[in-house]
Symmetry: C2
Subunit: 228 residues, 2 copies
């Protein structure tokens, strides 16, 4: 028994882009997705945990964090509604999550066995093909995202890291003022620097007129990100 509303949610998910309702229904009937609710700040998947299901975000946001043996933590990215969790993991040969997934807000997730999902090819090969195409696109975009992150981390000064990151987000949002959905501590983790140093640097950059910010809202003045 699949809730009607689940069909609607999945229809809007990137993995099922271009799917008709009846096709989503077919997928649901075949894979029997499971829904699960999480409160804020709960662990959804532990780093290193074996993963067999993909997760689709129905509501809320999920934060992906990688912990290091020295105790440091590093924020990889923040997933939003409609996005797919663990798609990279289930495609690798290791099948263990390289990072922890935590609920950043209360959230509701839909889990689907990836193995089962692919078996839909037996019933309807065309559906499987389209899922694979969407999947490739998602993975490729994920690759681009990671390359952006590497772009940020490859900068040798903190100011360069901040400017690179902000200009990437500005480009994505299409506005000079935007919300980065991280507080300063998380921002520091994302940039892989000490929090207090980031605080100082941000203030300096504000004083010198490069940026402005208030809580999680930033404004970037001028500065072009992309090379070439």
């Amino acid at each position: 028994m699949i809730a009607d509303d689940m069909i609607g949610v999945l229809k809007r998910a990137e993995l099922f882009k271009g799917f008709e309702e009846c096709e989503i229904e077919q997928v649901c009937d075949f894979t029997i997705p499971v829904e699960r609710e999480y409160e804020k700040n709960q662990v959804i998947i532990h780093q290193g945990e074996p993963v067999t299901k993909i997760g689709i975000i129905r509501s809320g946001t999920v934060i992906s964090t990688k912990y290091h043996f020295n105790g440091d933590a590093q924020i990889l990215r923040i997933y939003k509604r409609g996005e797919v969790l663990s798609l990279d993991t289930v495609n690798t040969t290791f099948l263990t999550s390289p990072a922890s997934l935590n609920s950043q807000t209360d959230c509701s997730l839909i889990f689907i066995s990836y193995k089962k999902l692919l078996e839909i090819g037996r019933v309807n090969p065309a559906l499987k093909e389209r899922i694979m195409m969407n999947s490739s696109e998602i993975l490729s975009n994920e690759l681009v995202r990671l390359m952006y992150k590497i772009d940020v981390l490859s900068k040798r000064t903190l100011q360069d890291r901040v400017l690179t990151y902000l200009s990437i987000i500005r480009e994505k949002k299409g506005k000079d003022t935007f919300d980065i959905s991280m507080n300063q501590e998380q921002f520091a983790q994302y940039l892989c620097v000490n929090r207090s140093v980031l605080s100082k640097e941000l203030n300096q950059m504000r004083k010198s007129g490069l940026i402005d910010y208030n809580k999680n809202r930033y404004t970037l003045y001028e500065h072009t990100s992309t090379p070439k």
Copy 2:
């Protein structure tokens, strides 16, 4: 007219993993791959250049470098025989190469139009499906690779970066002594640090017995990389 030898090369390529010779032939007949030779240190694809074909390495090695507007360069990875170039790029919506690809040695590449390759589904849907599956696996492994790189770059001290990198390679190679196929200058670029600082650090690490090295061959003593 497809050279027999090309079939053999493609059969061993990761994108066509599990394909029979006759299936490769079918792919070749349909897509008409083009072969091209490069001398050492030639540009294969410029950063920012639109890309429509994937490349498969028949022989030689290709180095992927990202150039920044400030003049810095960063080595992303080194591709070897049988690996696929630009698979990530052709799957994104931008279709422009995020990095430059240069021949590190004399090399020979086989180019295939990605659009054409996918159209093989019209003729033989099963082939397309298997290509898509292999493609997803390659992209996912690429994601893991980039995460490793982020792991390295997220370290705050150079020694940690070096140890993290070396232990990843050691794990991959399964030996304590291995060739990293980069000289010191390239290694510094990969780690995103100043070359002379790397030289000093490597010497120090050798003196303190953490590592040993000679040219591009490194030995890593002890040290575990993975957390958890």
